[in-house]
């Protein structure tokens, strides 16, 4: 069991980083740190996918002169495609989240989520 964790150290690292990112996104009260946590989480998944697509001793699937273009020479290209798609998704979410953080800061002058919720509840009670 423990030896498995060390043999598959890419996957182990990916899961630990995923856990850190998940916990930060869920529990940290600072919005910017939450965004960082979200990026940790997604990056961990890309590490996982990339390590699954790599096969030791093989090359990237690009053919060039003097190279025998059979599949035995190449790594699996699909995880790379998935990682690219995932990066696009997480970039757009980071952009959206950062824009939201700017609007929150303009509206409440703080990035502490607990403080923001407190201010908002005070407003709601006054109404």
């Amino acid at each position: 069991m423990v030896q498995g964790l060390f043999t598959n150290y890419y996957e182990t690292t990916a899961m630990i980083v995923f856990g850190i990112g998940f916990a930060t996104l869920l529990l940290n009260k600072n919005i910017i740190k939450k965004i960082i946590g979200f990026n940790f989480m997604d990056t961990a998944i890309y590490l996982f996918l990339a390590s699954k697509g790599y096969i030791t001793g093989r090359l990237a699937p690009i053919s060039f002169e003097g190279m025998n273009p059979t599949f035995e020479n190449y790594i699996n290209p699909i995880p790379a495609g998935l990682v690219l798609t995932g990066i696009v998704v997480s970039v757009s979410f980071s952009a959206f989240f950062l824009a939201l953080a700017i609007r929150l800061y303009k509206a409440y002058n703080t990035l502490d989520l607990n403080e923001i919720i407190r201010l908002k509840n005070m407003e709601a009670e006054e109404e």
Partner: protein, 499 residues
């Protein structure tokens, strides 16, 4: 050779995306026309596709980009998918019509066309979730769905929606992170992304008993991921904020359709990725069953203590989502069919309530707390009657749509002896709780106050789109109440060609 109708689901998705992007370049009024025209076309095309599926009696697999099975991307549809798409396009159309007035009031003028852009993209992503046969495509559209629905919540003027959006965004990101890691592990152990191929590998693995723990883990990750996004009970905390503060048609679409897209995806994964046998043996349905019951009771209890009309309706959504998970958790075909009937019925009832809440806010200077809404129904009797019909349907009075769902849920529970007692008790308790918060709400709305001595049926400057949409919603409600057996037959036929 494909017949013409078999292209329609693909055309619907592409058309919604293209018109969405077109809306970005148009003036708000024109964007509105484009958006509504797109939804009308979508409704007609989906209806034709449904008619074709019923006529042929078989599902269709549509290759994207002419690559055969293990490599290409696929759309797959039968009676169930086209029925859901038809219902959803009608609901989308009516919700947008019903809340048009508020959109032009609530959203900043320079951003109104983006509202229609987001609605179109949102609709395209819901359609894609219904039709797709590929897990990674499903992931991408889940994310598009999240992004657009968060933007729709945020579009309303003022800072009230910012915190709601933040909560919604964080919970959604956690859910989609779990979903993505699930897909990655599943791809890792099966080597496929298309659902039928994954199912072959999963069945082969299950036969040998290898990878039992990772498979259970994946089922868990998918269920929690989709549960967070569809506001299943312990993960519902973001819902009342987001649905309670958005503009009324956005709330209508969010609780009527967006939550359902994820549930349909989860059911699809149960049927097509794992197969029901593995799902039954993994006991995930037990957990969904219990969480469904908790959602039905605790969602309603939270709604009772709510002092804000829209937030009360939002908490009622939590309870209604519980019914869907109860139906899934009962674990037989009729239960699943009842759950899918509830998907449709709730999609037709909740937008009606949210749009009507918007109409009440109109006559009460935009306030949505109950203390300002006393007598609102007397100032707009039409909206009052529509709200009463919606509320009675939610409680489950016979003749209305909500009753037929409860009837079929009870019937399906009777077929599964170990679950029958709990299900029936939960249904009864939840019905009573629904009555406990909807009836006082009606009493406050219809209360005679000083300035409402005279009853006004429809206020001056009538909101014609809202009236039309409400009439259609009410008719649909009675249709579901009266002809539920027809829909159940159709759904069971659809489930037969779903797996």
């Amino acid at each position: 050779m494909l017949s013409l109708e078999q292209n329609f689901p693909f055309v619907c998705i592409i058309l919604s995306m293209a018109t969405g992007i077109l809306c970005a370049a148009l003036k708000p009024k024109k964007a509105m026309v484009v958006c509504i025209a797109n939804l009308v076309i979508n409704f007609i095309l989906s209806l034709l596709a449904l008619r074709y599926c019923i006529k042929v009696g078989d599902f269709t697999v549509y290759w994207m980009g002419h690559f055969p099975a293990p490599f290409g991307n696929e759309i797959r549809f039968g009676i169930l998918e086209t029925l859901l798409a038809t219902g959803f396009s009608l609901v989308m159309l009516l919700s947008i019509l019903g809340g048009l007035k508020h959109v032009f009031h609530d959203v900043d003028e320079s951003k109104q066309n983006y509202y229609f852009l987001m609605q179109n993209l949102l609709f395209a992503s819901i359609l894609a979730l219904i039709y797709t046969n590929d897990l990674f495509t499903a992931y991408v559209f889940v994310e598009i769905n999240t992004l657009t629905s968060c933007s729709i919540v945020m579009l309303k003027k003022g800072r009230e929606t910012l915190v709601a959006t933040t909560r919604y965004l964080i919970m959604s990101l956690l859910g989609s992170g779990l979903f993505l890691i699930g897909i990655s592990i599943l791809y890792d152990i099966t080597g496929h992304l298309l659902m039928p191929q994954i199912k072959e590998s999963v069945e082969a693995l299950a036969a040998t008993g290898a990878y039992k723990f990772p498979l259970e883990m994946i089922i868990c990750l998918f269920s929690i991921g989709m549960g967070v996004k569809s506001a299943l009970y312990p993960f519902h905390s973001w819902l009342p904020d987001a649905h309670g503060s958005a503009t009324s048609s956005a709330s209508a679409v969010l609780s009527g359709l967006v939550l359902k897209g994820y549930i349909i995806l989860l059911i699809k994964m149960f049927y097509r990725v794992f197969g029901l046998e593995i799902i039954y043996s993994s006991r995930v349905l037990d957990i969904l069953f219990v969480l469904g019951i908790l959602a039905m009771t605790i969602g309603s209890i939270k709604a009772i203590s709510e002092r804000d009309l829209k937030r009360m309706i939002a908490y009622s959504s939590v309870a209604q989502i519980g019914y869907i998970y109860l139906g899934i958790g009962i674990g037989n075909e009729l239960g699943m069919a009842a759950a899918l009937l509830q998907v449709l019925v709730h999609a037709f009832t909740k937008p009606m309530l949210f749009n009507t809440a918007g109409a009440f806010m109109d006559v009460a200077d935009g306030k949505k707390k109950f203390k300002y809404l006393a007598g609102a129904a007397r100032k707009n009797m039409f909206a009052g009657i529509v709200f009463a019909i919606g509320a009675l349907s939610m409680i489950g009075i016979p003749l209305f749509a909500g009753f037929s769902v409860k009837y079929y849920l009870g019937l399906s529970a009777l077929e599964n002896a170990p679950r029958v007692v709990l299900s029936i008790i939960a249904l009864i308790i939840s019905t009573v709780l629904n009555a406990i918060y909807y009836i006082p709400a009606l009493m406050v709305l219809f209360r005679k106050t000083e300035d409402t001595e005279k009853v006004v049926f429809i206020p001056k400057n009538p909101d014609i789109p809202y009236i039309i949409s409400s009439i259609v919603f009410v008719i649909a409600n009675f249709v579901f109440g009266k002809f539920a057996s027809y829909f159940i037959d159709l759904i069971i036929k659809g489930l037969g060609m779903f797996a």
